[in-house]
């Protein structure tokens, strides 16, 4: 067998390059597919958690549904219970204009969660501000598994 540095090496390089590009594309396509499938499967879990936060964990002392009092302490206790079940939680509360007011929990690492991406749910809520005033905000909850 004669190895010709010109055309053969070029052909090999083209072949390897194409295989690399399409394997990457296939992996990324599977990632997108997994992300959506995962989103569907874990969506109910994220919704349950967001509803519990909205209706129980963050409800103010007067118990009025939909009026939240933001508390790191209550969220920490709740996050620990979820962590024992292998579920991670990040909570963000922002204004309707997009200004971030409150965050709790670590941000998901995009590399670690590449094939198990986080699922997010958001709800409009009112956040108590004292003196009978309440600010309309958005509660965003991100959930992902270890």
């Amino acid at each position: 067998m004669v190895f010709s540095v010109g055309e053969d090496l070029f052909s090999v390089l083209v072949a390897v390059g194409l295989v690399a590009v399409f394997v990457t594309a296939l992996a990324h396509s599977y990632h997108l597919y997994a992300e959506r499938r995962n989103a569907s499967e874990d969506f109910d879990l994220a919704l349950d958690i967001a509803e519990q936060l909205r209706d129980q964990v963050l409800v103010g002392e007067n118990g009025q549904l939909g009026l939240l009092e933001l508390s790191h302490e209550r969220l920490e206790n709740y996050s620990q219970i979820l962590a024992m079940q292998g579920t991670n939680l990040r909570v963000e509360v922002g204004t309707l204009g997009g200004e971030l007011l409150f965050t709790h929990g670590p941000e998901p690492n995009p590399l670690e969660q590449y094939f198990s991406p986080p699922v997010g749910v958001s709800f409009p809520v009112a956040v108590a501000q004292g003196f009978g005033s309440a600010r309309p905000c958005e509660l965003s909850v991100e959930v992902w598994r270890d």
Binding site: L26, G66, A126, P136
Partner: protein, 225 residues
């Protein structure tokens, strides 16, 4: 060897074509985004939105004011103007809706709305615009919506007294995902409500039988976009 090299490239191109087809099939088989299609999420979102209307104060949406008037005429004369102005910034949006219902009861006789003296008519029109802009901000384009507020009609011998309003944001909407309802008490007792109807009709009434608590029913429908 040169021909063989090009043969390899042709093989690779066929391989690439097969992989591309596989990727396209995989992408087409992907499930849809549950945030826009899930009826459970939509129902929960609608409950949240209704509770936001119940709890958020008007000042957080830029404040609400209107002028007293009658038959489309507003008291804009400089001396009277300020005293005819009503600012309602510390109430919740739901309280505004209930107050609007009480102040703008509609009287229907033989299926026709009677044009009565309604000093707070301006509130009705401005509140609809105000609520639309508030709902646009709260829902943020994620769903189409229709908000309906109505009272149970009070049937008198000669007329029907009720309140009904509707705010719609349904551009390009497709299917209805959910319909959630909340009840708000009208800020008046039965006796006060009857007095109010007497004022509106300008006559004395034989006391009609009313429901135990005068309430306003607020229904929010969410539609997929």
């Amino acid at each position: 060897m040169e021909e063989k090299g090009f043969g390899y490239v042709a093989d690779m191109l066929v391989f690439a074509l097969l992989v591309s087809t596989a990727i396209l099939l995989l992408a087409a088989a992907s499930p849809t985004d549950p945030k826009t299609e899930s009826t459970r999420y939509a129902a929960s979102f609608a409950q949240s939105t209704l509770r936001s209307l119940q709890n958020s104060t008007v000042d957080q949406f830029g404040g609400f004011e209107y002028r007293l008037g009658a038959f489309g005429f507003k008291f804009d004369i400089p001396v009277v103007g300020e005293s005819a102005k009503r600012e309602l910034n510390h109430k919740s949006l739901a309280q505004l809706l209930a107050e609007d219902a009480l102040l703008n009861l509609r009287v229907e006789a033989a299926g026709v709305d009677l044009a009565l003296l309604r000093p707070n008519q301006d509130m009705d029109e401005k509140l609809r615009e105000f609520l639309k802009s508030a709902l646009d901000r709260i829902i943020g384009g994620r769903f189409g919506y229709r908000l309906r507020a109505r009272t149970e009609p009070i049937n008198l011998e000669f007329a029907r007294v009720h309140f009904e309003t509707e705010i719609v944001g349904l551009t390009q909407s497709r299917t209805q995902l959910c319909s959630e309802t909340m009840m708000i008490s009208l800020p008046a007792s039965q006796e006060e409500l009857i007095q109010r109807i007497e004022e509106v009709l300008n006559i004395g009434l034989i006391r009609p039988e009313l429901e135990a608590d005068p309430i306003i029913e607020v229904t929010l429908e969410l539609w997929s976009r």
